[in-house]
């Protein structure tokens, strides 16, 4: 059988290094998701308010994030800030800023969607049953909103993990970059390493994302 280059991964600590590389991008995405959920909840609830200026500003923010590729945002923050403000931002910090910025927009859109999808008669029925305003929110509105919110936010986690693979392009040493290093280091001894290593990276991403998107799908079906 032809050498598929999978043997490289068994040499030394190569597999461990690859997993460490995956953790680098996973950590960035987890931090960004945490920030996005907190800020997204706040901005999302603000967006349902009546203030015209706030609505226009948040709408503009959402549209910018929706249209601009995340790569462009990464370049602007990573290269642009250094040039304009003279701040030397390291690549990991730049990625966390960009992905939080992006995630917050996505999250606030999800929150807004969940909030406005609650029909008005829910509030009215609760009031008619004699529930106070606090009781209405605690027992009726918040549980219902959460049911719509949770599957979509879990989905955001997988999207975040997939998107953070881009950080390699501004020089963060994550799983793809480590893979490249391993391939280069073993060019002589196993010339087919590129196939094996990239296949494993592909599978690693699948293993990381699949359970999460499965959970999101299950919850969505269960609660809808």
């Amino acid at each position: 059988m032809r050498n598929l280059g999978l043997d490289v991964l068994l040499k030394g600590t190569n597999m461990l290094r690859l997993l460490e590389g995956l953790w680098v991008s996973l950590r960035i995405s987890l931090i960004a998701v945490a920030v996005s959920i907190v800020l997204g909840l706040i901005i999302g609830s603000i967006m349902t308010g009546k203030n015209v200026i706030i609505r226009a500003v948040t709408r503009l923010y959402l549209e910018i994030v929706r249209i601009m590729p995340q790569m462009v945002l990464l370049f602007i923050v990573f290269f642009g800030t250094t040039r304009v403000f003279g701040i030397n931002l390291d690549a990991t910090a730049a990625s966390i800023i960009v992905f939080s910025f992006w995630g917050t927009a996505e999250m606030s859109d999800i929150v807004r969607g969940a909030l406005i999808s609650i029909p008005k008669h829910r509030y009215e029925s609760a009031a008619a049953l004699g529930l106070s305003k606090v009781q209405t929110y605690v027992h009726v509105i918040i549980p219902e909103t959460l049911r719509r919110l949770i599957p979509l936010s879990i989905n955001l986690v997988t999207r975040m993990i997939k998107t953070t693979s881009l950080v390699m392009m501004i020089g963060v040493v994550e799983v793809l970059k480590v893979g490249q290093q391993i391939i280069e280091a073993n060019r002589k001894s196993s010339p087919n390493a590129a196939f094996g290593v990239y296949l494993v990276v592909f599978v690693l991403y699948y293993i990381a994302c699949r359970p999460i998107s499965f959970l999101a799908g299950r919850l969505e079906r269960k609660w809808s």
Partner: protein, 219 residues
């Protein structure tokens, strides 16, 4: 900001813009075809193919395009399957987009109540007529928002093409920044050209979405 410099860079960006545009739209077209075919196969539950396509959709929906491209462009040649960079870019986009589109179309078809099929059959329409005049228009109408979202998503994903050394907008910007250090001008042009690429799709998409919303009525 130096406008003269920007004018000088324009032709390079324009070339990159058309390349991105070309590969992007070929990819999207392929994605629509693959996605529609996959959705139909999945709905009809054609024995073996149904499972294979299910695995394909799961695999490509749960991995990033960058990793897919690395595998296709650097991994496959080791097995003797060499492909050119533009073809690889379009292929990656088709495979990724196909998986997303398949799910969108499928949820569109699944959203139609059984009542619609039964009513059409009761009115004396043949199975073929029911599909063409009732099911298809309704399913497409329901999946329209998802469809435009996918289109924007795929056009945005083209920004990773520079990783397989395609001379797209990202590549041009990075190259010029590295050569002349005109960071602000290069990034401004980058944003402007991406707006050219995506704004029309976004605007047209929301107009079309509003026009074809008929399936909601009477539901």
């Amino acid at each position: 900001m130096d406008l003269e410099v920007m004018k000088e860079y324009m032709p390079l960006y324009r070339e990159a813009f058309f390349l991105t545009m070309k590969i992007g739209w070929i990819g999207i077209l392929g994605a629509v075809i693959i996605g529609f075919a996959a959705a139909v196969v999945r709905l009809l539950k054609i024995p073996v193919l149904h499972r294979i396509l299910g695995a394909y959709i799961e695999l490509f929906r749960n991995t990033p395009l960058l990793v897919q491209l690395f595998f296709l462009y650097f991994g496959l040649p080791k097995l003797g399957l060499s492909i050119s960079a533009p073809f690889c870019g379009a292929l990656g986009l088709m495979l990724l987009g196909g998986a997303y589109m398949a799910e969108t179309f499928r949820s569109g078809f699944e959203a139609i109540p059984v009542l619609q099929t039964e009513t059409a059959r009761a009115l004396g329409m043949s199975k073929f007529q029911t599909t063409v005049h009732v099911l298809l228009p309704e399913a497409l109408s329901v999946s329209m928002p998802g469809f435009t979202a996918n289109m924007i998503f795929l056009l945005k994903e083209t920004s990773v093409f520079s990783a397989i050394s395609l001379m797209d907008l990202m590549f041009t910007a990075k190259d010029l920044i590295g050569l002349y250090f005109r960071t602000v001008e290069c990034l401004t042009l980058l944003v402007v050209f991406y707006l050219f690429l995506l704004l029309p799709v976004s605007i047209l998409g929301s107009i079309v979405e509003r026009r074809v919303r008929y399936a909601e009525f009477g539901a």
